[in-house]
Symmetry: C2
Subunit: 432 residues, 2 copies
């Protein structure tokens, strides 16, 4: 048996605020960061890598939160932990003392996500397969074993989840082949950051269309006149057939959101993302009803499966945007994929940041092969930043994610990049 | 002008798990703890004390979260910070990078609460008044200036809040006098911890009635037969005129909660507290509708004002239980008091833990004098633990909180207690 002998954490930050990459109406100057964790064993098998994505200050708090979980892993045998990821998840999430810091939300919950994802990375590497395929090869019983149905059973219980998975079992192999051959649809947020000037917006929008993307996304919500002008530029550049979504990053109150969106409706919006507080389920439902048929998209800041359950119950989200690192890792995202499948709502993962594309693509591809069984109306966000720091960076071909083939979850960063972006001692910061 | 020269933090823990004080269906063995902060200035005026309450592991993460806020205070002039607590709150809560760790929930949000409360403690001490009186002496305009109405305006905006406060302005002085003369109603959870045996439950229930409490509370949710037996003992001991509330501490799923509560309804329940996930607004609403007329009480784990707004909108809470340290301090609690007043729902604060009674009594008393204008159906939780560690411990007289008269918020711990409970080096832990 192999034993976990180290849970090493790292505070890694990228000085992205210098170029206003990632700027939006709520986040004017993010420094993309990861609270990074490596789980090491005493055998020759691969390590497990995971992280929490943050935007700068507070990344040290996130590292401290991951550190508290060390005792759940150190000295434990690897195989039973990896073989029972449902049980492992419960032990981490339901520790009664640590749970108090959430419960199941904020820094402590995301820390669990980093550790859970690191274990999945290790499991996939040891299986010699990309994570999406490890998940898609599980039986329906094995998949529901990953899910904690606590607080979900009034809407979805184990037996109904099993039925959903059984009904998607036929065709898994065909879809996996199609995925490998054709990839998975993507859209790009690269053109739309609020800090970019009009010329850069036009140039990048044109490049996105030329590269084959069927949808782009623009940040909005700081100034209505600016939004109108920028949407006009994007629509003019893209033509009528490329979808344009907008993202307010929680900028508005409920009534304000409705008024503002109606002012922008003429530009044919693919969806409106994060119109208000991510906690406001009833607010999202009210907005969605009043701006229909424009869909509301949300989820990158949705704290846990209980909040996703309610967004679906209340019809507050017509597009579910899971995030690989906001929830408590792969297991809780599987729960959300099942909830979305039950409600027939498409999942279009949030990505960008640093490393989010690399991980979350596996979840969308698993969804396609084994859960929803379709890619219709689905696509993964793509931003062309910081991929060069990862050992298996995403590949985009004609506006689609190419299915990863290397073993693991995609989370592993290059050692040189880790050294250079260590905060505050790394070369990237010394130069700043 | 005076300047802030130190923001000192402390990891303080009490080994309460040794006696099962505080044990319930979700928290079998808490070690009551505080991530404690002292804000110091370069003048001779008093310091400000605040803290986050936790139950053990993770208290160090909470300290790390408070540490990130140091730069918002160090070197700043004290008077403008204290004079504009609304602006100070916004700067702390809306820092775009730190906000990512919530947003507005979990460790980072509670850290803001500790700092905000420490500043209120300082302001009250410098005014030479107890916090409740500082707040109750503010004009309606000054009170609404404390509140961030972002994400609330679909339900409550500044002008409506002003009207509520204006209509409670008459009678403020009478109510303040009555409060000083008669105190504020309390109920006690002292008898009801799940780890206590039947004899201890009966003895403590009897003592509570003899001490003049009109309501006690029992922990439930681990085992239905145990709950029935313990409720029978409590009801037998207390007689029919003392109210008995039960608290499930988030133990149940929605349908399970309804079934379980119906089994206990014969014991005449004053309220059912935290029946399910604190995030499940729609679940609370469903439970409340199906167990009516038994009221649902919740709030001690409600993350922010947006969640409280929805609990009230959806009629998921018939009793609002604010917590002094879960929300972002006094300011956000003022927002919740205003929301509850608008909906006519009584606020019965959560307390216990360590130091929670000391702080939260000020908020309930402010509510009585200046917001709701009534104590009908209101009471503050009381538990008889750990008060001896505070410089101005709560006083209970015939089942009522005696209105504090000393300057400050009540948060200040004795220096000897702080030394002894420093974790892990203090004497309380060396002896363990």
């Amino acid at each position: 048996m192999s034993t976990i002998v180290a849970v090493d954490t790292f505070d890694l930050r990228f000085p992205t605020s210098r170029l206003l990459d990632g700027s939006d109406a709520m986040n004017p100057d993010p420094d993309y960061s990861t609270a990074y964790v490596v789980v090491r064993t005493d055998d020759d098998g691969p390590d497990g890598h995971g992280f929490v994505f943050t935007i700068g200050r507070g990344n040290d708090v996130q590292v401290a939160a991951i550190d508290t979980l060390r005792s759940f892993l150190l000295g434990h045998e690897v195989e039973p932990l990896l073989a029972d990821m449902g049980g492992t998840w419960r032990r981490l999430v339901h520790d009664s003392q640590l749970r108090w810091l959430g419960p199941e939300k904020g820094a402590m919950h995301m820390a669990v996500g980093a550790v859970v994802n690191a274990l999945w990375d290790m499991r996939a590497k040891r299986a010699g397969l990309p994570l999406w395929r490890v998940l898609a090869d599980l039986t329906p019983d094995e998949i529901v074993d990953l899910v904690d149905f606590r607080y979900l059973t009034d809407v979805l219980d184990r037996s109904e989840a099993l039925q959903l998975l059984e009904s998607a079992r036929d065709g898994r192999q065909d879809r996996a082949q199609r995925l490998v051959a054709q990839g998975y649809p993507a859209y790009t947020t690269t053109p739309g950051w609020l800090g970019y000037d009009d010329a850069k917006l036009a140039r990048l929008s044109g490049e996105a269309v030329a590269a084959g993307f069927g949808q782009i996304k623009l940040k909005v919500g700081a100034d209505l006149d600016d939004d109108r002008r920028r949407l006009a530029i994007a629509r003019e550049t893209c033509g009528p057939d490329v979808r344009i979504a907008v993202d307010a990053n929680q900028r508005w109150d409920v009534d304000e959101a409705v008024r503002w969106i109606k002012e922008l409706a003429a530009y044919d919006l693919a969806w409106v993302e994060e119109p208000t507080s991510p906690d406001d389920v009833l607010g999202h439902a009210s907005i969605a009803e009043r701006i229909a048929p424009i869909p509301v998209a949300t989820g990158e800041h949705t704290a846990n499966r209980v909040m996703f359950k309610q967004l679906l119950q209340a019809r507050g989200a017509q597009v579910v945007q899971i995030d690989a690192c906001r929830l408590a890792g792969v297991n809780e995202n599987v729960a959300v994929l099942l909830l979305a499948a039950k409600f027939g709502v498409p999942v279009c993962p949030h990505a960008g940041g640093v490393g989010l594309c690399e991980i979350v693509q596996h979840l969308a591809m698993f969804d396609y092969v084994a859960v929803s069984g379709t890619a219709d109306g689905r696509m993964i966000e793509y931003v062309d930043h910081l991929h060069e720091h990862f050992s298996d960076p995403v590949r985009i071909d004609r506006g689609r994610y190419v299915a990863p083939t290397k073993p693991g979850s995609g989370a592993q960063m290059l050692q040189t990049s880790m050294r250079e972006h260590a905060y505050p001692g790394g070369a990237a910061w010394a130069a700043g």
